[in-house]
Each structure stands twice: as C-alpha cells, then as structure tokens.
Symmetry: C2
Subunit: 458 residues, 2 copies
C-alpha cells in the first residue's frame, strides 16, 4: 500500500472532527451547486498533491456534505451512524475481498451465508437461499427476473417475447416499473392497484385486475407486495395476496426493503402475517439496521433458483472444487464488494434482541410524534402511522415550503410526499439514537418557522 | 451514533495489525470451509456482545481472510491497498450519502461529475455523460439496455419482443452473455466471434457474422469490443470494429473494465486507436486504479441517453429545483452508495501523471516477467503479453496443480485460464507497490514447488 506515515491516525482525527462538527451544526448550510467545486477546491489534479493537502481538502468536503447522522435528519429511510458498522466497512475495504469465490474471499463467504440463513429464518423461508445485491431496486430486479424466467422458461436462452403483467400497489416502489422496463417486460405492463385508506393494496381490486387481464389473454408474471411503503410505511395484506398468488400460480414477491427488519420486533409481527407464503423477499439492511449504504439481500424460498437464473460458466474465475460455496455463481454482479461484513459487525454488538428493542423504541417515538400532532391544532395527520413514518400537514401552510425553510435555516432536513393528492411532510424515525426531546425539538422548529418567516399559506 | 469510547482508536489499531500480519504472512493459510464458522466464532448472537469481544472476533476474521494487498497476490485484476482510497471509503461510509439527489449528497455529487467529465475527456467523448454503477457487469448491462431500447424504441414501455443479436469475442467477459439473458435479448443471441493469435476479435469474422444474420432476417443490436480481456489482457481492433458498427448502424460498446485506465498511459494509446468512435465505455476504477471494490462508471457519448432510458418519476425523492443535478434520475439503482469519493481521494494523491507513471512501471514489470520466462526453459509463454497480464506454462506440469500448491504452501496466490484449449498460469501485474524482486521471487517459488513437491507432470 502507499505508505503514508500515520495515515490511520489522520483517519481517526478526521472521523473525530466530523462528529464534533455535527454536534455543533446538525444541519449543513445549503451550498450553491454552481460554485461548490471551486469553493471546496475539488478539481482533479494533473500532478498528485501531498498527503496533508489531500486530508485538508477531504475535511472541507466532509464538513460541507449534508449529515445523515445528525438527529435533525428525518429526510430518508436511513439515518444515524454506528461505529461498529463503520469499522466493519473499513476493514472490508482494507481486505478488499471480491465476493465471488471461496478462494479469494475465504471466511467472508461464511459471514454472508450465516446472515442469509438468519434472514431466511426470520422471514419464515426455512431452507431458503439468498444473494447480496447493490440495493433494494436490484434485489427487486432479480426477483422479477426469476419470475419472468419461470413464466417463460425460454426467456433466458432465446429472449423474452411474450406479453405478461406485473402487479404492485400505486404506493409501491418505483423500481418495479423501472425494472419492468429493464427486463423486457415493459413498463406499461405494470398494473398499479389502488390502496385502502391506510395505503395498503386492495386485494379485491388485485384479483379483479388479474381476472380482467386473463380474460384478455394476458398472463400475470408476478405480484409485488410491499412491507413498509416508501411514503406511508404501509404493509400490504400478505395473507390475502398470497391466496390470490397461489390460486393463479403467480410468483409472489415481497418488497421489504424498508420494513423487512421490523419482522424482528414482536409487536410488528401481525403486520407480516402470511408473508412466509411469498416466494422471494427484498431485505435492505442499510435502512433500518443502521449499516452504511448499501447492504441489500434478496431472499428466495426455493434453493437452486438463483443458480438456475444467474449462473454463467467462467473458467478463469470458478476454479475451486467446492462449487457450492462460490457465491459469484448466484449473484447478478461479477466482481462484488463485501457488503456483509458491516452488517455482521453491527449485529455482533446489537444482537437480535438489541434490534428488537431498537425498533420498539422507534415505534414509540412515532406514537409520541403522533401525540404532539393531535395536541396541537397547527398540525394535522394525513395518514395514520403504520410503522416508522408519519405523514402530516402544517394547517394552512405548504408542506414543500416548510421543508425548504427548515433546511435553509439549518433547523432540520425532512422531505414530503404525496398522499391522495395532498402533499404531506414525511417524518421518518429510524435513527436509534433519537429521543423524544429530538422529536419535540423538530416540531418546535416548525412552529418557529411558521411564526418567524411570515409564510404565505397555500 | 453508538458511542463506543475510542472506537476510532481501535479501528486504527486493527488496520495496523492487519498490515503487520500481511508483512509476515503474505499468503494466508487455506482455511477449511466446513469448520471456519465455528473456529473463528462467527455466529450471529441473540444478545449483543461487548465492543472489545467484537473487535477481537473481527481481528481473527480479518487475519484469516486472503489478503489481496500482499505482494504475492497475483490472482485477480486488482491488488494492493492505498491508504488515501481507504480513508475516502471510510469517510463515504461515515457520511453515508445516498447519491441520488443534490439535497442529500450535496458536494459529493460534484465529485461524481468531475470524475465523469475527466473520464469522458480521456476516452475522447468530449461532452459525454456517465453513471457510477456497482461493477463492470452492471455497466455493461446498462450499455446493452440502452442499445436494446434504441433497437426497439417500444421495448421500455411495451416489452421487448423482437429477436436481435449481440456480438462479442470468444474471449470477452461473461457478463455480456449473462446480461443478454437478463435483458430479454436471450443468451443464444450472443454471437461469440473468434480471435486472432493475440486474442483480439477478428473484424473480418465479425462482419461475416453480421452479414449472415441480416441475410437471415435477424438484426444486430450491439457490438461489444474489449479493452483488456480477462485472461490475456488483449485489445480488440477498435478502428475496424467502429467502421463496421457505423456501416451497419449498430451500437458500439467498449468493455474497458480492466484495460480502460491504460488510456492514461502514453505508451498504450496505440492500442486504443479508434476507441472514441464507440458509443459507450465501461471503466472500472477498482481494478487498475487501486480503489476498493467497487467503483465502475458507464460512460455514454451522447448526453441525455441515460435519462431517456432510466428515469422514473418519484415525487418523494426528486424534490429539488435543479433537476439537472439529481444523479438518481440516470442511475440503475435508487439508493446508491458513494463510490466516487474513494477514487477522488486517490486521484488527489496520485494525479493523472502519477497514474501514467504507475501503469508505465507495471508494463515494465510484465516485460521483466516475460524476460524471466524466455531465459528459463522450465517456463513457456502461452500468449505474448498485450498489457498487464502474462499467460505461461511450467513445461511438463499442470498449471492448475501448480496454482493449488503455491496456495497450499502459502507461497503465492495466482490463477489460471484457458487459451486455445491450453491451461495457462495467469500472472497479473496491477499492484503499484510491486517491484522486480517480487516478480523474481514469484518465479523462484514455482521453481521450488516443481523441485520439492515431486509433482507428476501432465
């Protein structure tokens, strides 16, 4: 390696500086995109600069980057920072194992297998299999690929040229539509089923759509149900959907990218009833489980499915005698980074019990937030909370403007979403370090904004 | 974040321990996959363990993982370790920016844009565009997706249902075939064109195959040429292929996952003549450029192409006013890790000049290795070196057995590959810290193996 004296000491200093700055300025000052490159001196040099100058530039850059670790960050389905996970990620980078073969990755392969087995157990797949993928969208893509190839067994070899349909709810993730475009299924062949008042896919309308399509000679490929929708955190009715899938012989996928890990929490189990009837499940550990982006797993109930759909012979790569432990044969990538070690690391420190407690606490914070909203006529709930998100309005104010002002004044970072043509502020509680006082502080900031800024109402 | 006192100090200690152990034992003892989990105590605990116990387990695991940073690691198209890159990666994990929007990623988006602009300049695309993807296979996938949608403008919306063909060489990467299966094109519709004595695709046979297909009413979708094939490091004849692509109106992609960065090295430019005629280019920075896995970019000559093929509307995500700077609209993923910062970091320290010098030095080492082979009748070159790989045999011995023995005896980690039905040992020179003495030492190890082990000849 390039031998920079004390480079790891400098890394430690920078991490410490970063944390200190975040405690002073939890929300970064918005930066002008037009001038950021020159102001932060980001240009790529023709000749290399010395290590100290590099560390200086990197520090300036880090301190100007929005912090997703601060307690006033409610903007995404991830938040916080865990040192065990960061340490795991750094060691993974230092080892730089490509996760395709036992020969190169060695015991890192065992880590993946242990995690996949544990997640399969939690979902109720028993002797299932799985693969780490670069994000929930790609996990969904692999599930859809498998379903497409099952629907048309010639697709992989000869090309896909039958019209078939995909079902998801109008509040499902956009990757379902995107992936249909990628896989040759066609975005127009995604049927978006309407939801009930809580944002859950209506099983009756799903069955109607399927029946209608079949009457018109169009066969269904896959039903995508969601465990934790992006905006409302809603859970589709898995038992009913599972029955429909079985009745019609359709692949049943569950996109649990956001909500999946809540399976570890007893009080959420009822939302998942019937989920074990599904054929595949997307589980993102980089959202609720606190590991850095990305760490996503596609779980598949029936062993052998991934190999059947993804294996390619490559003599220069698969040279071991223990073929069953060459994970590259069942992944969508060739060279693949080690996303498992950071999850293993954090799991060592938290344990399954720690995760259950963490989710329980966060669910309590959402109830606490809902209480604040109910007790203040300035606020109004747009959709009752289903899990760890809460959508509300500031009565008489534009949600989008509130969010922009909160950021501009460095008070909080939060986003908005559409629900039944209303634009609502979406509060997300996923940072395990979050406390009631942080939630209270957030609402305080909104009250201040509405008073101080003389915002025009809608 | 979880507040473990001195966690960054512990990280620094572990990184130092790792480096020290590698200097003592550059090749790890092969480990028994059946018992690795229990011997290393890898199980996922029900209750969390204390931080010290976790760090102890992590250290044991790290020290049992094959080291791709050691100087006797010749097994993959990546090697070495750079502290600036590791620091960049760790800070990216600590900031945990999802690279979809300016609002969340801020100046990290600028870093991506600067790198994409620079790489476009190097390839000769002028005002091109690009997207970071999770590996060379996926970069190739995106290129093939674009070509498929150009071939059939209805494919994205209505599904793909025309038969079309893809051309690549028999020594091209397996992801081309795999991706054809994923995209609905069909693996059987990939035509593998034979190569000349140096492993380069034969343009005459390519044109013949295209003409033949067209005569049979099958239209070509894409030609994939390779800049640095996996086994031989060969470069296809871009000028001739470019002419054929233009003549027939076919999308011309270059898979430069391995060899792309050699464009930065003057003495390799002649191998790339005509490459700027291509429409898209896969560039992996995690191979020759020394950044940890993965850091791949798909470059596209014509601006607007990525948006046209990948954009999905998502109101809860794209909430800025500066749409042109929302990179999530042009990526295959939704949530996306920051792969750019580590490349930016190492580039600061090396500069473009430093990379050019590094590649020049490595090319010299390959020549040095070829010299050793020519001067010792025990060795025989199987294919003249084209760039940074060298394929040779140990006369009278099985290449596979030699590789296994080298690993078992902890002497070196190196792989083998098939060339014209011969199995050759593939030496890869990509670690910038490598010196002539390390190469000489490697061949010394093989001599020792053949003497000491009493290996049966083939």
């Amino acid at each position: 390696m390039s031998n920079h004296e004390n480079s790891w000491t400098r890394l430690k200093e920078l991490l410490t500086d970063l944390e200190e700055s975040e405690s002073v300025a939890p929300v970064r000052k918005p930066i002008d995109s037009q001038h950021a490159a020159s102001r932060l001196d980001l240009a790529l040099p023709e000749k290399g600069i010395d290590f100290d100058s590099f560390m200086g530039k990197l520090k300036n850059l880090a301190l100007a980057t929005p912090s997703s670790a601060s307690k006033q960050f409610f903007n995404q389905l991830f938040a916080g920072r865990d040192s065990a996970a960061i340490i795991g990620e750094t060691i993974a980078a230092a080892l730089n194992s490509s996760m395709y073969t036992w020969r190169i990755a060695g015991p890192q392969v065992i880590i993946e297998r242990l995690l996949i087995r544990e997640l399969n157990n939690i979902v109720g797949y028993g002797n299932g299999e799985g693969t780490f993928s670069p994000g929930g969208s790609i996990s969904n893509l692999i599930a859809m690929l498998i379903a497409r190839n099952r629907f048309d067994p010639n697709a992989r070899a000869k090309g896909f040229n039958i019209t078939g349909t995909i079902y998801t709810s109008v509040e499902g993730h956009y990757s379902i539509r995107k992936n249909a475009g990628i896989l040759g299924i066609g975005r127009n062949n995604v049927r978006e089923i309407h939801v009930d008042d809580h944002g859950r896919m209506r099983a009756d309308l799903l069955e109607e759509a399927i029946t209608e399509d079949k009457k018109n000679g169009i066969e269904p490929i896959l039903i995508n149900a969601t465990a934790g929708t992006t905006v409302r955190g809603a859970f589709d009715p898995f038992t009913e959907i599972g029955l429909i899938a079985r009745r019609h012989g359709i692949w049943f996928h569950v996109d649990g990218a956001f909500g999946g890990p809540l399976l570890m929490c007893e009080q959420m189990r009822r939302r998942f009833i019937g989920v074990e009837q599904s054929d595949s499940f997307t589980w993102d550990a980089h959202k609720l489980m606190g590991v850095p982006l990305t760490c996503s797993v596609l779980l598949v109930k029936e062993k052998g499915t991934l190999l059947h759909n993804l294996y390619e012979q490559a003599g220069y790569l698969y040279q071991g005698d223990e073929d069953e432990i060459e994970p590259g044969m069942t992944s969508i990538q060739c060279g693949r980074r080690n996303d498992a070690l950071k999850l293993w690391s954090i799991w060592q420190v938290r344990g399954r019990v720690g995760y259950a407690e963490q989710f329980s606490k966060l669910l309590g914070l959402i109830r606490y937030a809902a209480g604040i909203i109910r007790n203040d006529p300035l606020f109004s709930i747009v959709s009752e909370p289903q899990s760890l998100t809460l959508c509300f309005e500031v009565v008489g104010y534009c949600s989008r403007t509130i969010c922009t002002k909160l950021e501009e004044q460095q008070r909080a970072l939060v986003g908005f979403g559409n629900i039944d043509n209303r634009v609502a502020i979406r509060l997300v509680c996923v940072n395990p370090e979050m406390e009631e006082e942080d939630i209270a502080f957030f609402f305080e900031q909104i009250r201040a904004i509405t008073k101080e800024c003389n915002l025009e109402s809608r």
